[in-house]
Symmetry: D2
Subunit: 286 residues, 4 copies
């Protein structure tokens, strides 16, 4: 696949003629649409669209597409839009605490080049996985956090993310709550994995709560982090059946498999520009 493509993620109030205008913009400038997907939210009548086209003979230079699209199409429909390119290699920062399963899984996918990403920095509130980062020659920063040092620690983290030009932050079972200030630096750019099928068992110790309640399904939820704890836009979630025979350790073991898969799925969707987040919900293009 050395096809060079552009991707537009668009949303705006619904209005006749949007698809026609966008597809003409591409076609008239010699672009060939590879996929176009749209959605209208039924209650608010809000319009969402993802369109990807081949840039090979596209008449508008890549660095001018944004300006041209804005002037010729977006303004008319009051669109908010993001333009991405399929050959962009995003820079992903990993945050981890003491659980390895998501962390190892992400590094395995990175090592096998399943994902086209750079991992310029790993940050942890523990020193446990320094040796792993060294194995991959990725800078590792041990930044312990206490109530007293939280502001200072986060400032240091943000500085690191900025130095390393990070595009996406992945909380791979990072057991610290981020402040609103931190989150505001990376809106819709921080993905967390919660070890329950939200909104069930939000907060800490979801497996313990699930065991106590005697549910027959346990799951995991990947979501963008917002200032409302465990209430950000859900990207992906999945459950597995469990029975009374599964003790607490079994729930956790089963859950870990789901967490790994769901977090990886969410990262893949984000990396492939398939997510539009709007008012605490997501539109996931296929």
């Amino acid at each position: 696949m050395d096809q060079h493509t552009a991707i537009l993620l668009i949303h705006c109030p619904d209005h006749p003629g949007i698809i026609s205008s966008v597809s003409e913009f591409i076609f008239n400038n010699n672009g060939n649409i590879i996929t176009l997907e749209q959605h209208v939210e039924e209650f608010e009548k809000h319009f969402f669209m993802r369109v990807e086209w081949d840039l090979e003979n596209f008449a508008i230079p890549s660095d001018k597409i944004k300006e041209f699209f804005n002037t010729l199409v977006a303004k008319k429909f009051k669109m908010e839009f993001t333009l991405c390119f399929n050959d962009f290699v995003p820079r992903v920062a990993l945050f981890v605490s003491k659980y390895s399963h998501c962390f190892f899984d992400i590094l395995s996918r990175y090592e096998s080049k399943e994902w086209k990403i750079e991992i310029p920095v790993i940050i942890s509130n523990h020193d446990k996985f320094r040796y792993v980062a060294e194995r991959y020659k990725i800078p590792f920063h041990h930044i312990p956090i206490t109530k007293a040092t939280k502001a200072e620690a986060e400032a240091k983290e943000i500085q690191l993310l900025q130095e390393h030009k990070v595009d996406l932050v992945v909380l791979a079972r990072y057991m610290q709550i981020l402040t609103t200030d931190f989150i505001n630096h990376y809106p819709n750019q921080i993905i967390n994995i919660h070890h329950s099928s939200l909104p069930a068992f939000a907060g800490a110790k979801p497996y313990e709560s699930a065991y106590k309640r005697g549910v027959k399904l346990v799951g995991a939820t990947a979501h963008y982090v917002t200032e409302d704890l465990d209430a950000g836009p859900i990207i992906a979630q999945e459950v597995r059946p469990v029975t009374h025979r599964e003790g607490l350790a079994d729930l956790k073991r089963t859950g870990k498999n789901t967490e790994k898969f769901v977090l990886a799925q969410a990262i893949w969707l984000h990396l492939n520009h398939k997510i539009l987040s709007y008012k605490n919900k997501t539109v996931i293009f296929s």
Copy 2:
């Protein structure tokens, strides 16, 4: 299958020798165990067991098994137990309001003899489905309920259930909350279907809440009714994936399929004496 079997559902504090005592009791009296399944809850060390055996050459007459088992085995281990027979045909009352999907599904299974049950009575707070009951020649009682008439209405319902010697009450999307008094008449004998994957979206309008929250899974939960609304022991639950493309009507349509299946699954488990309910959780034998 004209094999005649007995089924014991047992629970007690865990103690060495329980399985040995029970299996000896059966073997020594010429019973052949068909299935034996046990479980020990890890924190409370509480023991659960289901054992089914062939009565063909069993030395103790069926109407004496309870007494003999109690004297010879149960007392020693402080067991609580229920004795059932596989040829017992339970009498099931259906409660329904205005949604037909679970109601029709149950009647279809009844009509096709998928389940060996009698349905001696159908009760509804609306008159809508009287014609359906008549089709099956099942007595139908329209008992409207308002705040003012609730006590009186429930008294009438309980009287009907008693007259018809009902063993199990199935709330097939019955849109009324039962009082504690009603529930106490039928402990672990009232099965409800809730249209969410509890504990998520307990209460009314779960699909609306699920749509609003933007979850990627919708489901249903069958549970025994207890005085805590939507918090009774969970028997079965299942979810299906949904996307942003599913509007509210689609969530409901998808959900109805799950409700039908989950409620039928729970009824089947109950009818086959596969459920032990203990302290707001269930042990589901296989």
Copy 3:
């Protein structure tokens, strides 16, 4: 929903400008697109599309849309297309043998108006369900089939389907193989449910084969009937986990639940014009 809409199902070799041409055709004639979904098959570069638009202010009269679209758009791209209207009420014939689960489920959905269909005729090679058809006041035809009478029997069936102006034939566990001649009368208009996850266990007795092989999943497949037995385009399929504890009767019981659901799902997709069948595969629009 009293919105009146038109739906175009299109396929043709991929070519730049298709989406633009179609969306312009709609927009320029005052149609508002409700959903547009497209797909390009990666190896053959074949293009598929479903577009639905509001007809309220559409400039072209409904009975002229086909001609205009053909002249103005379809010819240019060598499209094959089908035009449907959301208020069309399809006429569905049910074929059934002796299993009731799919049959009852479809009738329940029909009775509850979950689907907007007419069922003008029920055909069976047994007389068993005549009383059910009578309950719904649907003409029932008992057409027994032997090797010797097959041609004659099918001729009678086709005549009935034509008399009743049937748009869709549903084989609700109809245990007869249709001849190529019969099938050719209703291309992509006959839906069958096979009681396995095809291509596994094609042919007769799939549950027996699944039990023998010791698989851990059993399922069902709904597909359009083609002259290759059990090899037609797959519309929907689903499996459920099973264990060694499930005997043959349990596999069948579990399977029936899946069959019901999968067949209903396939019918719903067909009724909503969401299926494009091409070269033994389906594109299922969402």
Copy 4:
């Protein structure tokens, strides 16, 4: 969990008194049963059982249990049985070719001590992953295989497995077919992952076949290797839904996630002595 337990896996023709005899054997010698699970295959009336008990006060020394059980119980019922201990640490050999996803996943679980195993040797027909083995300080043997060298290569492999006292061989997407001779050295001790939901798409290139057939589910199957290719006893299998939108690369990507999970699940079941393999099927205890 420093509880020290013994596990018996038993099978024999069904006969009254088996459970009673086994549980008495344990109880009379001061063992406390932790879990007991049995199964009778319905057609052959063959009996299967797994029982685990606490050895703390068990009267028979661990190295004598086998002899005593054989003499006192097994002979009487013509049992075949295996005795295992929960503190035994099995030695697992990994075979890998060029796909890393299962290989990395297993090593991650090993590194995080999710499984109590030793990995004394990694064998590959390519040199690609030598650096990974070195990272974990596990001996790596590159044994290329051609038709001409197969016998010799396998002889070398068997020698390595014997030298390293290997208990379980895991084929983590090892792209070579083992000879019957090799397989006979490790009956029910070689686990393979096949990238389809067997028996569908047995043999090579299952994703290509699945894509071509247009199935709506893709999956993976972990099974013991027998001399019949892809026909050994199935341990675990799972599928995921796919649509026409998933191209071949997507099927493979989705499939890899399933392969990883299913293989890990099968290994876990084997390591926990939860599998009884009998006549090409498995009984999986819970």
